[in-house]
């Protein structure tokens, strides 16, 4: 097995606050969507967030037991914990309905095998990868100047032509091309960096190639735009519930 980068894992184990925040930033949205799917819309958005955070709390308790050498993906492990937390929440609710009101005993997700019902779907693994790409893009945005990154966003994410961008921005077309090249290179680097940081198995690292992010120039841009569009769609799809709740609350004013 390939020697994977375990620096991030070490930071998690040493209770580095920044690492835990990064974990939440990267895996949080995917986790929330997964919990929402588990709960089959039985939970309110607030409960979904609570359960997601409960998952991370459980993760914090068990993080010392995670061993990437066994070949288990980190995302799969997280999935399994989330599954147990959601089941626990359902059990608690049923107990409450019966009048018992007692939270069920703690589950030990690590020792239980992954059955067919608890195996993560490809969608979930894909959403985790998209979250990593999103994180890489944000990192590039932080490192680059504002103007080049805006040019790249306009070209890739909004699908504008170089000529239109040049007119709208008030810069020349060669400048646009130069910015595109520079930003593309940085984005490629940061995505690679993020994927290496948050992946602990060889299979996870190979996802870059499977997503066609190892290709050159325009093909890389197309793959990136596709991943972004799916990620945006996914986040906005999940946000529908929140939006409905927020609109309802706003309407009550």
């Amino acid at each position: 097995m390939k020697n994977v980068n375990t620096e991030f894992l070490s930071r998690l184990k040493s209770r580095d606050d920044d690492a835990w925040f990064e974990l939440w930033e990267v895996f949080g949205p995917a986790l929330e969507r997964m919990v929402e799917r588990f709960a089959r819309r039985c939970f309110s958005p607030d409960t979904v967030r609570d359960v997601s955070q409960e998952t991370l709390l459980r993760l914090a308790k068990e993080i010392h037991r995670f061993d990437p050498e066994r070949g288990t993906r980190f995302s799969t492990w997280l999935f399994q914990i989330a599954h147990h937390v959601v089941c626990g929440e359902f059990t608690y609710r049923n107990a409450k309905k019966r009048g018992e009101g007692v939270r069920p005993g703690a589950l030990d997700p690590v020792n239980e095998p992954i059955g067919p019902s608890t195996a993560p779907s490809d969608d979930y693994e894909w959403s985790v990868f998209r979250a990593k790409v999103y994180r890489g893009m944000r990192l590039a945005g932080q490192r680059l100047d504002f103007l080049p990154f805006e040019v790249y966003k306009a070209r890739i994410l909004r699908g504008m032509k170089s000529k239109d961008i040049a007119v709208a921005m008030g810069i020349s077309e060669p400048t646009v091309s130069r910015y595109m090249k520079k930003v593309r290179s940085t984005v490629r680097e940061t995505i690679g960096e993020v994927v290496r940081s948050y992946s602990f198995t060889e299979d996870e690292e190979n996802e870059v190639a499977r997503a066609q992010l190892d290709r050159r120039d325009e093909l890389f841009d197309d793959a990136l735009a596709d991943i972004y569009a799916r990620e945006e769609e996914s986040r906005q799809g999940y946000d529908t519930i929140s939006r409905a709740v927020m609109t309802f609350r706003g309407g009550a004013r």
Partner: protein, 710 residues
């Protein structure tokens, strides 16, 4: 006059009298229906559970039944006299209910949606049933069998005042503000445990002035001290800015009053703008102009907040009300002073909350140690995103505006939501860009504005200097805050009208005109004439009175002493601590010895002035030399200071300490504050307030002399 004479000519005298009689019945029924709805609204207000009533009387009173049977005709006559109102009310309500029901059915059949009429019809039937029921109950009661038909005991009746708003009744628990404000309705609750009411000031027995919003926290009804502390932090600044009109704080309650703005939320206004757009269609120029006008107002308001040294921290479309006067920012729940020493919290609303703020909060940063104005800038960018895109910025700083539109606006949105140093450094810089777009659009249209024409494109410094200073924030609410009845038409689009509905309304209006005229005569007679003006001697709350801050309940103000108090020195403070301990051990805590209290550390808290800080520094040295334990944490002292500043009492300080120091020994809190009250009490110096548990002691000292004792 001929018009009024015509019915008499055609119908004859008795027919006209019958019509007038019916009109009177109708107006009476409708008036009663309105009052019924008002009472129902009032009863729905959240109140603590009323006390359990006494046990009901036995169902059948044998003696009463026997006596009533002996004088049966007399009892029956008495019942008829007592029920005369209900005897007329039952057919009146049935008639009006049937009439309104029929009209509603007719309107429904021709495609209308007369919800109010249906509701009114239902209310009339309910009232008819109530009148019938009260007649039956009265009859049974007269025969000593009231218990058989009387249901569960009702809450005390609510007196129907002529002046519209229902009033709380004696015995029913009232809110502590109800002697000053009359509740009109309840608003939807937000994220806190507070309750929001629409109120009006009361002058004597009647409400006066404009409607206001009152936010009320009650410790006995689930509110927490932390919330009160958080909400009261920026209260003084908010009052200075005129966005809080009044506030009150005591041991168990806290409330503050804000102006009420009638309108719709920006969420709805934005949804209306995007309702008819296709997925790949951009906003029209009119819509963009409207959005930019709203954004400009929001930025001006935020700039005013920041200049006053506070951030709003919860800018979102639901907290922006679109009124005829413009966009108004509401909800001061998270108002935070920029100089606050408290730790940053993650409160806010997802999608409109800066992710960077969450990160800093997780790191435990204090508000004053970060550039907190940036959080409001991010939120303003997110609001702009919503206006331009019609959806939430789900991807945070990477969110893209999917609708085609001016690149310059996309640039402003992205820059407001950008991370790190790329974000606008101030609201003024963002506003300068926005104003530039508005100005240039008048010449060439939105799409023709290149991003390079924005002031921020070539560096913010020059732009900020060139930009005109924003007008200062309104220090007092505008004299006329009367809520408009009509909402702002967005982008000049007229409201759609239903021609069928209008025609039906005209027909119904003509039919009911006669009834209304007769009803008006009846009402005038019934109400005893024209409304009487307030007497000259009636008490009135003046504007000054409304704005005057209530005295801080937690503070004990020393009376002026003919002998000048001693100058403050560390030795005096140490002496005060020893005396206070002895007093506690002797009088207040008899089970505790002085030795026990000597093991309690002393926490010295300054009021933030340099003089008090200096005294505390010197006192710590003396405490160390004297062997008195003191609490070394400056963070805790700073936190306690923020609690003490609003003037919360000793118990609140204790609760705060308990929440912060789980398991540790609670310290003596010695708060040294500078007092400059020369004009009122002729004194200037330092007040040393000692807190321990629920006890408090206050001593006043003169300012230190030139040769300070160290």
């Amino acid at each position: 006059m001929r018009v009024f004479a015509l019915p008499i000519f055609f119908l004859g005298f008795w027919e006209v009298m019958a019509i007038i009689g019916i009109a009177i019945l109708v107006s009476y029924s409708l008036k009663r229906g309105r009052r019924h709805e008002q009472e129902q609204r009032y009863r729905r207000l959240p109140r603590p559970r009323p006390p359990v009533p006494a046990a009901p009387p036995p169902p059948v009173n044998i003696v009463g039944l026997t006596l009533a049977l002996m004088v049966f005709p007399v009892v029956l006559a008495a019942w008829a006299i007592a029920s005369i109102g209900d005897i007329f009310a039952v057919p009146a309500h049935l008639f009006v209910g049937t009439l309104t029901g029929t009209i509603s059915l007719f309107i429904t059949l021709i495609g209308g949606s007369p919800r109010k009429l249906w509701k009114s019809s239902g209310v009339q039937f309910v009232l008819a049933w109530k009148s019938l029921r009260s007649m039956i109950v009265r009859l049974f009661a007269m025969f000593g069998m009231g218990g058989l038909v009387r249901g569960k005991p009702k809450p005390p009746p609510i007196p129907a005042s002529r002046h519209a708003s229902p009033r709380p009744v004696p015995g029913h628990r009232t809110y502590p503000f109800e002697d000053r404000y009359r509740i009109e309705s309840l608003l939807g609750a937000g994220g806190s445990t507070a309750r929001l009411f629409v109120v009006r000031r009361v002058d004597g027995a009647r409400p006066v002035g404009d409607r206001m919003v009152l936010k009320y926290f009650d410790m006995g009804m689930g509110s927490r001290l932390e919330e009160v502390i958080r909400e009261s932090r920026g209260m003084q600044v908010a009052k200075d800015m005129g966005i809080v009109l009044d506030h009150h704080l005591d041991r168990n309650h806290f409330y503050y009053v804000m102006p009420y703005y009638e309108g719709e939320t920006l969420t709805r206004a934005s949804a209306r703008l995007h309702r008819h757009l296709k997925a790949d269609e951009g906003l029209s120029a009119d819509s963009i102009r409207t959005c930019l006008a709203w954004m400009s107002e929001l930025l001006r308001t935020l700039d005013g907040y920041h200049r006053q040294g506070v951030i709003h921290k919860d800018v979102k479309p639901d907290n922006l009300i679109v009124t005829e006067q413009g966009v108004r920012l509401v909800d001061l729940g998270l108002l935070t002073p920029l100089a606050s020493a408290l730790t940053l919290t993650t409160h806010g609303t997802e999608f409109f909350r800066d992710p960077e703020m969450v990160k800093l909060a997780v790191q435990g940063k204090r508000v004053r140690d970060v550039e907190a104005v940036r959080f409001d800038i991010y939120s303003a960018g997110a609001v702009m995103y919503l206006l331009l895109d019609g959806s939430f910025p789900a991807c945070g700083p990477l969110s893209r505006i999917s609708r085609p539109g001016p690149m310059a606006l996309s640039w402003i949105t992205s820059r407001a939501m950008a991370e790190g140093e790329k974000r606008y450094p101030s609201v003024a810089a963002m506003r300068a860009d926005l104003e530039a777009v508005i100005a240039k659009a008048a010449e060439s249209g939105y799409d023709a504005i290149p991003v390079s024409a924005l002031p921020s494109f070539s560096g913010f410094d020059a732009a900020a200097e060139a930009a005109p200073p924003p007008p200062p924030v309104i220090l007092r609410p505008e004299p006329k805050m009367a809520p408009p009845e009509r909402l702002v038409p967005i982008s000049g689009r007229p409201h759609r009208s239903n021609s069928t509905g209008s025609a039906v309304a005209v027909v119904i209006g003509v039919l009911l005109m006669i009834f209304v005229a007769a009803g008006a005569v009846f009402l005038l007679l019934a109400s005893g004439g024209v409304e009487r003006p307030l007497s000259e001697g009636a008490p009135r709350i003046t504007r000054d009175g409304l704005f005057s801050a209530p005295p801080s309940p937690g503070m004990v103000e020393a009376r002026p002493n003919p002998d000048p108090p001693p100058a403050i020195t560390p030795a005096h403070i140490v002496g005060s601590i020893r005396n206070w301990r002895a007093k506690l051990a002797d009088d207040l805590l008899p089970s505790t010895s002085v030795g026990d209290l000597e093991r309690v550390p002393v926490l010295l808290v300054s009021d933030g002035t340099s003089g008090a800080d200096e005294i505390i520094g010197a006192t710590k040295v003396v405490l160390q030399k004297s062997g008195i334990l003191y609490h070394p944490s400056t963070t805790l002292a700073a936190n306690v200071r923020t609690v003490l500043e609003p003037g919360i009492g000793a118990e609140a300080v204790r609760d705060f300490l308990l929440s912060k120091m789980a398991g540790d020994t609670l310290p003596f809190v010695i708060w040294i504050r500078h007092v400059d009250d020369q004009p009122r009490h002729g004194r200037c110096g330092y007040q040393v307030v000692c807190f321990y548990g629920p006890y408090r002691h206050s001593i006043f000292f003169s300012p230190p002399t030139v040769g300070r004792e160290r």
